[in-house]
């Protein structure tokens, strides 16, 4: 695609956007450019100025990125507090002058969000605990034990990471149905209790353990359980925490599998509950948005609490501690 053509496309795309959003994008673009220019220019200035300019430039960029990420969340909260007809008003309303808190009550009671959230937490909790246990056990075996076909088996574990979920979907469904787990908590959780990714992640953390520590523990008379609990796991804690959090978010956000493997409303999770809520409240966008906020709130709280662990898990091993 030629550059001219590309610019034309961008212009056309911008033209089709709502004026308010277009202005926002243009403004954001200007701030990004300004920030970048500041960062580049700052390399030539005196050290003090350089540091200040770089700081300002960096913060400008961060502010824009933060706005881009947070704006949809903000709009969700705002829209949940508006009247139904205000939600679709043009230009969009960016601040609720008369917040309508009743939408939350409606979403909670009419959408049965309490039950759905409980289901989500039960299912997610079982999956997280199960995945952690199986990952740690498998990782321990792959990292510390010697047994026939160890490498081959590990490659097989890794290979499962390359297979998209959709490929195994029908097979899993068949298995679950034939085991009589259709429309049960078993069906919702058991297929996700072990993952190649989890075993891989924890194994890498275990392998980072110095060989001397293993030898020392062996001489100090630690058995497998003592070594795992007192030496290996504490060292691998960032990776295990990160796995737990990832596992939580992916389990909580599941939609297709819980939808297909359950038929009973009692068993359905909050992601499906939201879809039902949307279907039943076709024109009450504020209620749908309120439900969304309620469903996302637990995740948001968890994110704030575990943010440090999450980042540490992602960067673990990048810098020697």
């Amino acid at each position: 695609m030629s550059a001219e053509h590309g610019t034309g496309t961008v212009a056309t795309a911008l033209g089709t956007l709502a004026p308010g959003f277009r202005d926002f994008l243009v403004g954001a673009g200007i701030v990004v450019v300004a920030g970048t220019v500041l960062l580049v220019l700052s390399r030539r200035a005196s050290p003090t100025h350089r540091r200040q300019a770089a700081l300002v430039g960096r913060y400008l960029l961060l502010v824009v990125l933060a706005v881009i990420v947070l704006f949809p969340l903000y709009i969700t909260v705002v829209d949940s507090l508006l009247q139904p007809d205000q939600v679709v008003a043009k230009p969009p309303i960016l601040f609720p002058t008369h917040p309508q808190w009743s939408s939350y009550a409606t979403a909670w009671t009419q959408g049965h969000l309490g039950r759905y959230l409980l289901n989500s937490f039960v299912v997610t909790g079982v999956i997280v605990v199960g995945e952690l246990v199986t990952s740690i056990a498998a990782a321990y075996a792959f990292a510390f034990l010697r047994f026939p076909f160890r490498k081959t088996l590990f490659v097989v574990f890794l290979a499962t990471m390359m297979v998209p979920v959709e490929v195994t979907f029908l097979t899993n469904l068949n298995t679950v149905v034939s085991l009589g787990w259709y429309n049960t908590y078993f069906g919702l959780t058991i297929p996700f209790l072990a993952t190649g990714f989890g075993a891989f992640l924890v194994r890498q953390a275990f392998l980072g353990l110095p060989g001397d520590l293993r030898d020392a523990a062996e001489l100090d008379g630690a058995n497998h359980w003592q070594f795992l609990r007192e030496v290996a796991l504490p060292v691998a804690r960032p990776a295990v925490a990160a796995l737990g959090i990832f596992s939580f978010f992916s389990a909580f956000g599941q939609y297709l599998w819980p939808l297909i493997v359950t038929k009973d409303d009692r068993l359905r999770t909050v992601t499906i509950g939201l879809k039902f809520l949307a279907n039943s409240q076709l024109n009450n966008f504020n209620v749908i948005f309120a439900g969304t906020v309620l469903a996302a709130l637990p995740l948001f709280i968890l994110l704030v609490v575990f943010e440090k662990q999450l980042v540490r898990g992602l960067t673990a091993g990048a810098v020697k501690g």
């Binding site: 520590l213 030898d215 020392a216 062996e218 001489l219 100090d220 008379g221 804690r237």
Partner: protein, 362 residues
């Protein structure tokens, strides 16, 4: 009984032979140093004794039993690692306590023994700190404490001082010797540092290429090195070695070297003849060479290294080979560039077969 004995032990890793047919006995309460350059197999010997590796061949005894098939934790030995191998997430107290906990020692007894060891090693202050919050010296002592607290039959130490700075190393060296004498336990100590080897061990076993070259008291190894390797490895500055052909003149045998002919005593001449060596390496320690106008070797002074308490006179023979002479500071040193003659008392000469490296005579 903290005796450790290896009988004809060999360890191969695939094609590589790390330890070759080693026989070594460490007596109860003995401090034995395994000394050698890196990669000579000394650490492997230690790991074999610990049970972290199993021998390809031969038998290992600790106390009165053969331990070949015995798990490391059942061997009743404790090891101090070069890296200290402290558990990073545990405080010093929990590190020291760990082996006792695994043995299911009662809690009170455990606490008492930890306190006791901590006091001996002056660790009481840092018991609640983690390794990351301690100095190198403190970490080293925690590693030592973790070994001592078990009261094992034998201690295995793998270069425990090499991560300390020079001053602390000297100090800790002395403390380790004192500690060993006080605890009266068997120690097998691995190092590549000849000073540690000479000062710490009751006996030293010098290793190279997976083979023990010589075992003996430090002075014995210094005064009577069994071969060229040991002669060159022990001593600083190293022994001067000149290689030449044994030549006979009027029935008297001398070694013809690039600097001149070196005369031998009658027993030395006999020994050289009996050995049948075609090339002979003559070794002389720097402190045994004299600047002597009647000396047989002609050389010129290249550099004088003044250390304050002594001078190292670095000389060069005609062919460029280096000979170091060690002079006490009180003795007047020559000037750089001077032509000198070098000599030594014949009984101070060490003779080796230059081809095999083996010592000739006593």
């Amino acid at each position: 009984m903290g005796r450790v004995a290896l009988t004809r032990v060999t360890k191969r890793f695939g094609e590589v032979t790390a330890v070759s047919d080693i026989t070594l006995e460490v007596e109860d309460q003995e401090f034995l140093v395994l000394l050698g350059p890196s990669g000579c197999g000394k650490s492997t010997v230690l790991r074999l004794i610990a049970g972290l590796e199993s021998p390809t061949d031969g038998s290992i005894e600790i106390g009165d039993r053969v331990v070949n098939g015995v798990e490391p934790k059942e061997r009743d030995v404790a090891m101090v690692f070069q890296s200290y191998a402290l558990y990073p997430q545990m405080t010093a107290r929990r590190n020291i306590e760990f082996p006792l906990k695994n043995q299911r020692t009662p809690k009170l007894e455990r606490a008492r023994r930890v306190e006791e060891v901590a006091e001996t090693l002056e660790l009481t202050e840092v018991l609640d700190r983690r390794p990351a919050q301690m100095s190198g010296g403190q970490r080293q002592r925690v590693a030592l404490a973790r070994a001592i607290v078990r009261r094992p039959e034998a201690f295995l130490m793998d270069e425990p001082l090499s991560n300390l700075d020079a001053k602390l190393r000297t100090q800790t060296r002395t403390e380790l010797i004192e500690l060993q004498r006080r605890l009266a336990t068997t120690v097998v100590y691995v190092t590549h540092d000849q000073v540690e080897g000479m000062t710490m061990g009751h006996r030293v076993a010098v290793m190279e290429n997976g083979v023990i070259q010589q075992v003996g008291a430090p002075t014995e190894i210094y005064d009577h090195p069994a071969n060229l390797f040991v002669a060159g490895f022990i001593g600083n500055p190293p022994m001067n070695v000149l290689t030449g052909l044994p030549t006979s003149e009027d029935g008297r045998l001398a070694i013809e070297t690039p600097g001149g002919g070196i005369p031998l005593t009658a027993p030395q001449q006999d020994a050289v003849r009996r050995s049948g060596a075609t090339q002979v390496a003559v070794g002389v320690r720097p402190e045994h060479i004299r600047l002597d106008e009647d000396g047989p070797l002609r050389a010129s002074v290249a550099v004088i290294e003044a250390l304050g308490y002594e001078n190292h006179v670095v000389c060069r023979l005609e062919d460029g080979q280096q000979v170091i002479v060690r002079l006490r500071a009180e003795v007047a040193a020559p000037r750089e560039g001077d032509k000198v003659h070098l000599g030594a008392e014949p009984r101070r000469l060490h003779l080796f077969d230059a081809t095999t490296g083996a010592r000739i005579g006593t």
